[in-house]
């Protein structure tokens, strides 16, 4: 497999150090995979400018949102810069900064556009073709109040209650994750992560196939379903937690995000869903940007330890995991993979006992923490300088190439999930104008976030801007643009 390249051969000192510092023996595929399983779904975007290493937002993943975080790479900047041109930090000319900022701009944005669009496409196709993923029906433990209330005020109140309960779970899981990370309970985190992905890949996949076959009115026998589920699930576990080709890993991450988004969409009541989207964006903002925010703490802790955030819960466009090993400063933080809360698998038919409930909450929080972390890795200049070190990185490209795009952008899986949820709710009306307007606004929000990331170079939350744009455009399209557009379509008037 691709990831087997040069894992053992090219071992710079830092890498071996990092390896030794890990408690559990996660198999080192391309990315260093710490055993931190609970990643907040803070998406961390890191821009690596010249000499900057992307600090891991391992902590960030602790929060249940996906956040985009950019780690301030100033430390690495200095090192790299000194290596490069002996210039002190302060005298760095602005144009070089601009060069570095934008040098990796457009293609990375598009590299994130594609998986986000794919995830949304899977969700929308599933919703349109099957009927079992429509909301209504069962409720789950995280939003216990139903919304069938007589007056609007009652409805709002109960929705708010639902939202706060949900956020309570999310925040609790985030805090637990950070505590575990701080106390170096890597085994627990890793085990938690494996458990959640296990549940997600097998249980949710099984229910997905069942609902598809039920909706399409095509019976599939048990043997086929078990065979298919087992195979897909086993390969998924390999690819995500161990080594595997990058496209397959990306495909699995996208698919899992889509599954989670579908489950969320099914179980979240209508108004609660909108409120949750809004509140989680605010939480994302707080957790990533405030000095005492959990995700920020996670990032800084990971930064100090020079560890990587769990790659299992981060979508990355290239195999960047090795970058941390490559970068000389061992403090390059790595993104801890978010915990995927596979707790989404709520079997509403069962009565949940306390234990199951807690377990599910934990899994869910893990999933919630899954986030994609946009991350630009070590800049090309550094790559050219020390090609040998990048051998380790390029798990997917056997040949060291100067022109190789060693920068990869990472986005927390939680971001994927919430974007897809927003789009799923937008498509529920059946009006394609709304869906397309929300889609464009989500992508533009992502674009803006990446641009801000490139400029500010700190961890940034991926949710707020996109969700804000999405919500504004959703409500305005439904109530204002929609009727206008319908009137125009009716008379075939083209403006």
């Amino acid at each position: 497999m691709h990831r087997l390249i040069d894992d053992n051969q090219d071992s710079p000192d830092e890498m071996t150090e990092l390896l030794k510092s890990q408690d559990n023996d996660t198999i080192i595929d391309g990315p260093e995979r710490p055993n931190i399983t609970n990643l907040p779904d803070v998406a961390i975007i890191q821009t690596s400018t010249d000499g900057e290493n992307i600090s891991s937002n391992a902590a960030a993943t602790a929060s249940s949102h996906s956040r985009v975080e950019a780690i301030d790479p100033q430390d690495h900047e200095t090192t790299h810069r000194h290596r490069r041109n002996e210039q002190p930090d302060e005298q760095r000319p602005l144009n070089i900064e601009h060069e570095e900022i934008f040098k990796y701009g457009a293609s990375h944005v598009v590299k994130l556009f594609v998986p986000v669009s794919l995830c949304m496409l899977i969700v929308i196709i599933t919703i349109k073709t099957t009927s079992s993923y429509t909301p209504g029906g069962a409720t789950w433990a995280y939003t216990p109040f139903t919304e069938d209330k007589s007056t609007n005020t009652q409805r709002i109140l109960f929705s708010l209650a639902n939202t706060f309960i949900f956020m309570g779970f999310v925040i609790t899981a985030t805090v637990i994750l950070i505590l575990l990370y701080k106390f170096k309970c890597y085994k627990i985190i890793h085990g938690w992560l494996i458990l959640t992905t296990l549940m997600l890949l097998f249980f949710f996949l099984y229910s997905y196939f069942s609902s598809i076959s039920a909706s399409l009115n095509r019976p599939i026998d048990m043997i086929t379903i078990c065979f298919i589920t087992w195979n897909i699930g086993a390969v998924g576990m390999f690819c995500i937690h161990w080594k595997g080709p990058l496209p397959i890993q990306q495909a699995y991450l996208i698919f899992m995000s889509a599954l989670l988004a579908l489950v969320f969409y099914k179980f979240l009541p209508d108004w609660t869903g909108w409120l949750i989207l809004g509140v989680i964006s605010i939480w994302d903002l707080i957790a990533v940007l405030c000095p005492k925010g959990p995700l920020r703490i996670l990032v800084e802790t990971a930064h100090e330890r020079g560890e990587q955030i769990f790659p299992a819960l981060i979508y990355s466009s290239t195999m960047v995991y090795m970058v941390t090993a490559v970068d000389p400063p061992p403090r390059e933080p790595q993104f801890a993979p978010d915990n995927v809360d596979t707790n989404m698998a709520v079997n509403v038919d069962e009565t949940l006992n306390e234990e199951q409930r807690n377990q599910r909450a934990a899994i869910r929080n893990n999933n919630a923490r899954r986030q994609l972390i946009p991350r630009s890795d070590v800049p090309q200049t550094a790559t050219r300088r020390e090609p040998a070190r990048y051998v380790v990185e390029r798990s997917n490209s056997p040949v060291i190439d100067d022109d190789d795009d060693d920068e990869s952008v990472k986005l927390g899986l939680g971001d994927f999930i919430f974007y897809s949820i927003l789009l799923a709710k937008a498509s529920a009306l059946g009006d394609w104008n709304v869906t397309i307007a929300c889609y464009v606004s989500l992508l533009i929000g992502l674009c803006l976030t990446l641009l801000l990331l490139a400029i500010i170079r700190k961890a940034l939350p991926a949710l707020p801007i996109s969700i804000t744009f999405g919500l504004v455009l959703y409500f305005s399209t439904v109530y204002i643009i929609g009727p206008f557009s319908a009137e125009l379509n009716l008379g075939q008037v083209f403006i």
Binding site: A106, D431, A437, V440, E487, L488, G491, Q492, V493, F494
Partner: protein, 246 residues
Amino acid sequence: MTIMECAGCTLIAYGVPFSMFVFTIAHHPFRVIISMTSAFFWLLSLLLSSFLWFAVVPLRTQLAFAVPFAVIFQEIFRFLFYRLIKKAEFALQRVQMQELTDKGMVFDRFAVAYASGYGFGLISGTFAIVNVLSDMTGPGTLGIFGHSQDFFIATAFLTLCVILLNTFWGVIFFTSLDKGGIHRFIGPGTVVLTHMLFSCITLVNRTLTPMYTISLIVGYAILLGMIIYTVVLRGFNLNNIRQRIN
């Protein structure tokens, strides 16, 4: 039958733009982003126009009031997008450098103008046709109550016209503003006037048995005119073309 019609109309409306996308935009991430951003700007202009339409309650059925304002808002936002590009040109140059360094090109204004016009057109056409397409797949057909049976196919052709027109309008607009001098007024003026002409002609489609031929012919005639104008503006003349062909 209805799926056939839907597929046919989709391909009519999106065939040429899709090919344009695949061949000229898909492999250039920079152009993808520009198209996406200009689509967003168009959405904002539509939002403003809708606010206006929504606010003036008694005239909601009189689209003749809302349409000129919609056109004006669109052109204003096209201009705003031009200003944004101009301001960000230095930074954008760096962004684009990555894809152009091997070609040794400079900041490609033409590509930006083209991508921006394409984005505008694509989203404009999409909003015009996508709900019609999704209704098309349902049961039933048109023309039962004396309405025209050509509704779908005329919509598809008009959408194609709109998408292409917007692309060329974008190129003309940006190129004229870049050229300066008298072109700063001729170019955008032409764009606004032809846009207004096209949209107001489509108002004719609102009658009970509309003659789609009027709007179709006018639309495609305008398109031809815009193509010629663009070609002239970009500096091609008959000799150039002859040389290129031979």
